[in-house]
């Protein structure tokens, strides 16, 4: 999974005065760094690049949501009951496609007539914020625990490994909804709790990978060399181990983001997510349960938003793994 040991920059520097070797037609042999090789591989993977492109687009949308909404949308909680068909019990929007028009790009919510476009782009904010923060938390805990367990080995390793098994054995969603339900539902607090729960349950996935890698890396010659010249544990962990762990950490962080997005949406779908009126894709879907017979678009749009986002992260993560790991099965 690793790129092999990262050597320090002095190792590869050409001694002064020496010519760069050239091949017959005079073209220089280009020295490519491992990161560069990975990037070239990634660039060839069109699906992964499409996924990456969509992720960047989505992050921009989430950051610029207020601006975009000013131009293309309507205030999030503004009611537009003139867009609701009074002849059909005041439930479905006017028109066939859930009220999609050039004024309301993704149509309107049933009953209230709120702009679905603005709900979706602000929902992206909620979704990405929680998923990314949770991933960050998971990565930090995963690295700390994984490196400690792998580097020190012995009883420390057994202890931390059992602990990771324990967390993976928890009835995750049950525990999460139960815990969230006994806590007060104010917005900021709820977001923090969701990040803690999602991150707190997903770090063992990172931790296991890091532990395994650290366990094998610490036996390698370059670590032994560092130890023999008197480097302390701190230096070995930060200067020798972590740089070599960067690739797997990057790959697996990318791959837990989509499951964290799904987890956030699932909690919102079950009614224990971010409280209204903060828009959330999962809650839009759970609202849609009551109306999908009359207004299928209201279910399709948030559902597709979740699907496309998660798929983009999965495609990108898969591509990244293939690019960084030449041995991967492709």
């Amino acid at each position: 999974m690793t790129l092999g040991p990262v050597t320090s920059s002095t190792d590869v520097a050409t001694p002064a005065g020496e010519e760069t070797p050239t091949i017959a037609d005079g073209k220089k042999i280009e020295g490519r760094s491992l990161g560069r090789i990975a990037w070239m591989r990634l660039k060839r993977d069109k699906l992964a690049m499409a996924g990456g492109g969509f992720i960047i687009f989505l992050i921009l949308v989430a950051i610029l949501a207020p601006l975009i909404n000013k131009v293309l949308g309507h205030p999030v909680n503004e009611y537009h009951q003139d867009k609701i068909d009074p002849n059909l019990g005041g439930i479905p929007p006017v028109g066939t496609w859930g009220g999609i028009s050039k004024d309301f790009l993704l149509g309107v919510q049933p009953v209230t007539g709120r702009d679905l476009f603005s709900q979706i782009i602000y929902g992206a904010q909620t979704s990405l914020l929680i998923a990314l923060l949770a991933t960050l938390l998971a990565v930090v805990i995963g690295i700390v625990v994984g490196v400690t367990a792998g580097y020190y080995g012995g009883w420390v390793d057994s202890l931390f490994s059992r602990f990771m098994d324990l967390i993976l054995a928890f009835p995750l969603i049950l525990f999460a909804i139960a815990l969230i339900s006994v806590l007060p539902p104010t917005k900021g607090f709820r977001i923090a709790v969701m990040v803690l729960i999602i991150g707190g349950f997903s770090w063992p996935y990172i931790g296991r990978i890091v532990r395994g890698q650290a366990l094998s890396l610490r036996e390698r010659e370059f670590v032994e060399a560092a130890r023999s010249v008197g480097a302390g544990s701190f230096r070995i962990i930060f200067r020798e181990l972590l740089p070599n762990l960067a690739a797997p950490i990057l790959v697996y962080s990318t791959l837990i983001i989509p499951s964290n997005i799904l987890f956030e949406a699932a909690l919102s779908f079950l009614g224990v997510g971010v409280p209204p009126p903060t828009p959330s894709w999962g809650r839009l879907l759970s609202d849609a349960v009551d109306y999908y017979e009359y207004d299928p678009m209201y279910m399709l749009i948030p559902g597709l938003a979740i699907f496309v986002t998660v798929l983009a992260f999965n495609l990108f993560g898969d591509g990244l793994r293939d690019a960084l790991d030449p041995k991967s099965n492709r």
Partner: protein, 333 residues
């Protein structure tokens, strides 16, 4: 072998004790830290402080956590009584708590819902095990072909589809637009087997799709790794037929990781397929839990969570035993 089983039993029991302590602790400590009195959750918003105190006394919530935990464990083994002066409520063993909202012990409530969850989990798991493993093996053997590539893209799409979306979509198409399947309430297998199956069918398929995708990816990866191993080359060199090489020699290795995640998955599902049950309106354990959360029926929530953990621990135990059957090296370790 007996030694191995005994060790696994001890590990499982220890695991279960730790999970129950943690769950119990979290349920009783977290509300306190957040400034809510758990007793308030039982009595509703309009109760007077005296009511709250009385409830706390009746449920033993005024006691320290370890005393409460001790009583809880004793309840599971021997049953327990909830006392507050004249009114006495008995909860027979195994007492996983008493739901005062339903005025019933939690355990029978769980038992009522269990058949639904089991029906869902078993049906879906049969489909996804066969479908997922088969798709993975075919994909690996036809590596790089159009079939392989499209199957893997499909699998990636499959793991990206949340069940609360596919479930709604499937219902919209097959129940409401095409009318191929009935809507309405869940019926028992014993009362109406066809009604039972047709109500569960969409749940089985959508749930299976999700898992099959993961299993197909895992099977493919393991199979590719396995077929490049020496012992497979040896098997081929011996002149064994390809069917035997793949079906007998390679499959043994491929099954090990599959059995691992299958154990975890089925354990999680039996503890309540919350999302699937919510989407399809199936009155299983997951539905019980989410209803209990909405009505703040804390004993039920706690009971379901512990029950769910029990399933996972038991499933892991069974997986460990299966390991020993599949992989003889495990027995000696």
């Amino acid at each position: 072998m007996i030694n191995y089983i005994l060790r696994r039993v001890v590990t499982s029991v220890v695991l279960m004790i730790i999970i129950s302590v943690v769950t119990f602790g979290v349920f009783f400590m977290v509300p306190k830290l957040a400034g809510t009195n758990p007793a308030e959750l039982y009595v509703g918003k309009s109760a007077t402080p005296a009511d709250v105190a009385a409830t706390a006394r009746k449920l033993g919530l005024d006691q320290p956590v370890y005393v409460q935990y001790g009583r809880f464990v004793k309840g599971i083994v021997a049953g327990r009584d909830f006392n507050s002066g004249p009114s006495k409520t008995h909860c027979p063993a195994p007492c996983f708590g008493y739901s005062f909202r339903n005025d019933r012990p939690v355990f029978p409530l769980l038992l009522d819902r269990l058949p639904v969850t089991i029906s869902l989990a078993i049906g879906a798991s049969i489909i996804w095990l066969i479908g997922g493993v088969l798709a993975g093996v075919i994909s690996a053997l036809r590596r790089g072909s159009i079939l392989d590539r499209s199957m893997m893209i499909l699998a990636l799409a499959g793991v990206s589809l949340p069940i609360y979306f596919t479930g709604l979509l499937a219902q919209l198409i097959f129940v409401h637009n095409l009318h191929w399947l009935p809507g309405g309430e869940y019926v028992n297998f014993r009362d109406n087997p066809i009604g039972w199956a047709s109500k569960l069918l969409l749940g089985w398929i959508t749930l299976a799709l999700l898992y099959a995708a993961t299993y197909a990816r895992l099977t493919r990866a393991t199979m590719l790794e396995t077929v490049s191993e020496d012992y497979i080359r040896t098997a081929r060199a011996k002149g064994l037929r390809e069917r035997v090489v793949i079906g007998k020699h390679a499959m043994r290795s491929v099954l090990t990781p599959i059995v691992t995640i299958f154990g975890l998955d089925i354990g999680q599902l039996l503890g309540g397929a919350i999302l699937t049950e919510s989407v399809f309106g199936l009155p299983g354990i997951g539905r019980l839990s989410i209803d209990a959360v909405n009505t703040k029926d804390l004993p039920v929530v706690l009971g379901v969570t512990l029950f769910g953990a029990l399933f996972i621990v038991v499933a892991n135990f069974v997986v460990d035993l299966l390991y020993a059957v599949i992989d003889p090296r495990v027995r000696l370790a």
